[in-house]
């Protein structure tokens, strides 16, 4: 553990009023207890965990593919209007907000930046945040909240910035 990380943890403990925290890394365990007067750090030895146990993974791939005909139609339409069509990367349920009683991530007419969360698509109880790959203005939201979506189905149209 480096000093920067340690400081971050101490700040977090201060902020939350946490008295003791234990951090176990691959090679050792650190227990940090914070007395009223200040912080007190102790190191505890622990058996190292073999990092080689971890198999190398492959890059994440999208969920099973579905029909792309609807997408093609919307794309053709979008090309005419110079819009970018954002398509669902998976089969699932489309949610415009993180919970029923809170504001939607975006509304039509909103400006969005690259990396901004546009919606959540739930598949197999994994709530997937879908980020915009482009900056622009939301021209159209193609799907109703809580409706099922197919792989490749258009979900948003963006007017590029």
């Amino acid at each position: 553990m480096n000093i920067g990380k340690l400081k971050k943890i101490l700040d977090l403990m201060d902020e939350r009023g946490i008295a003791e925290i234990e951090v176990r890394s691959v090679f050792r365990t650190v227990r940090i207890s914070r007395a009223a007067a200040g912080a007190n750090v102790s190191f505890i030895s622990a058996g190292p965990v073999d990092p080689a146990l971890a198999p190398a993974g492959k890059a994440a791939a999208p969920l099973p593919a579905g029909e792309a005909a609807a997408a093609a139609a919307a794309e053709a339409e979008a090309a005419e209007e110079d819009l970018i069509v954002i398509k669902s990367p998976m089969v699932g349920t489309f949610y415009r907000a993180p919970a029923p009683d809170v504001d939607s991530f975006v509304e039509e007419g909103d400006k969005v930046s690259r990396g901004q969360v546009l919606c959540i698509i739930e598949a197999m109880k994994i709530m997937n945040e879908i980020e915009s790959e482009h900056a622009g203005t939301v021209a159209q939201i193609h799907v109703e909240n809580a409706a099922p979506v197919e792989y490749g189905q258009p979900i948003f149209s963006l007017k590029p910035a």
Partner: protein
């Protein structure tokens, strides 16, 4: 009559102090019960699993379970999942905390565990009741590059792992309800939630396990009937052992999934499930039918009454 009794017990439970004990007379005055009723009600609460100490003369108080001990959990952790873990007193939600840790560089297997969640959440923003020290509330960072390329099976894998952990530590043969609720005699004992982000590029897996709750610890109107390890008659309720067992089982099942492929996980899920063969209704679609099979990516195959088959990826079944 029964409903009325439950309301009285809930009222009494809610006013029981956790610090200095309150006498039966004091509790009676605060609850509009008679002092004799208070004595009987405390007995009823104890019978339901509530931890109430004292007697009418010395006064009653609600006992809290022992706190989590990060060292005791760490000493039992065997693999990469939980190889770094943080135990917090109170957090908004462990999901938010784990995501924050991932943003600060927390890598694969880092776990955020809390004694209490102020706004514990389930799927689609539903509340997950998370009272102080009564349950196990944990979220684990999983890097996508460490998972199989199609990780749709993750929640089911986690369900199998948590079921194994509960069986090992608490001696209960819990069952799985699609996609990944853990149930005991039809009541929800634990839930699993997975959130996938783009930045940082991780999945955060959340586990909420009811351990010491009595019926009066759950909100009056929960979506599904709920239960806890205490209510289900578990042989052990050691939260440190449970936390470590959950982390270790998750580590093992992720390894199996990576090495042997999805079939092993799907098979383990089938062995423990209560969904296949049952009639289900798919919320929001009006479709009713029988759950007949599970695909290799964890989706449910439902045969409707006309004999047509549908594959369900997302629903409350």
């Amino acid at each position: 009559m029964v409903g009325e009794t439950h309301e009285k017990l809930r009222l009494l439970y809610d006013i029981l102090p956790t610090a200095a004990p309150a006498s039966a007379a004091e509790l009676a005055a605060a609850s509009s019960l008679e002092a004799d009723d208070v004595v009987a009600a405390v007995e009823a609460l104890r019978a339901s699993g509530a931890m109430v100490s004292g007697d009418a003369r010395s006064g009653y108080r609600r006992e809290l379970p022992p706190p989590l001990d990060a060292g005791a959990i760490t000493a039992r952790v065997e693999g990469r999942v939980g190889s770094a873990l943080f135990v917090f007193d109170a957090v908004t939600s462990t999901m938010a905390k784990a995501r924050e840790l991932a943003g600060e560089g927390g890598g694969h297997g880092v776990a955020a565990i809390a004694e209490e969640q102020i706004a514990g959440r389930g799927r689609y923003g539903r509340r997950w009741a998370s009272p102080l020290r009564l349950g196990l509330y944990a979220s684990i960072i999983l890097e996508k590059k460490q998972l199989p390329p199609a990780f749709a099976l993750l929640p089911l894998t986690a369900g199998v792992a948590v079921a194994d952990a509960i069986t090992t530590v608490a001696g209960l043969a819990v069952e799985l309800k699609w996609p990944n609720d853990l149930v005991w005699e039809g009541a929800k004992l634990a839930g699993i939630l997975a959130e996938s982000y783009g930045e940082p590029d991780v999945v955060v897996l959340g586990v909420g396990l009811n351990v010491f709750q009595c019926p009066y610890d759950f909100p009056p109107r929960v979506l599904y009937p709920a239960t806890s390890l205490v209510m289900a008659g578990a042989t052990s309720t050691d939260r440190n052992a449970l936390a470590a067992a959950v982390l270790n089982a998750l580590d093992r099942w992720l390894e199996r999934w990576l090495e042997a492929g999805p079939g092993v996980v799907v098979e383990a899920w089938r062995d423990r499930n209560v969904t296949l063969g049952r009639r289900i209704r798919i919320a929001g679609t009006g479709v009713a039918g029988t759950a007949v099979d599970l695909t290799d990516d964890g989706a449910l195959v439902v045969e409707d009454d006309a004999g047509g088959r549908r594959v369900i990826y997302s629903a409350d079944a």
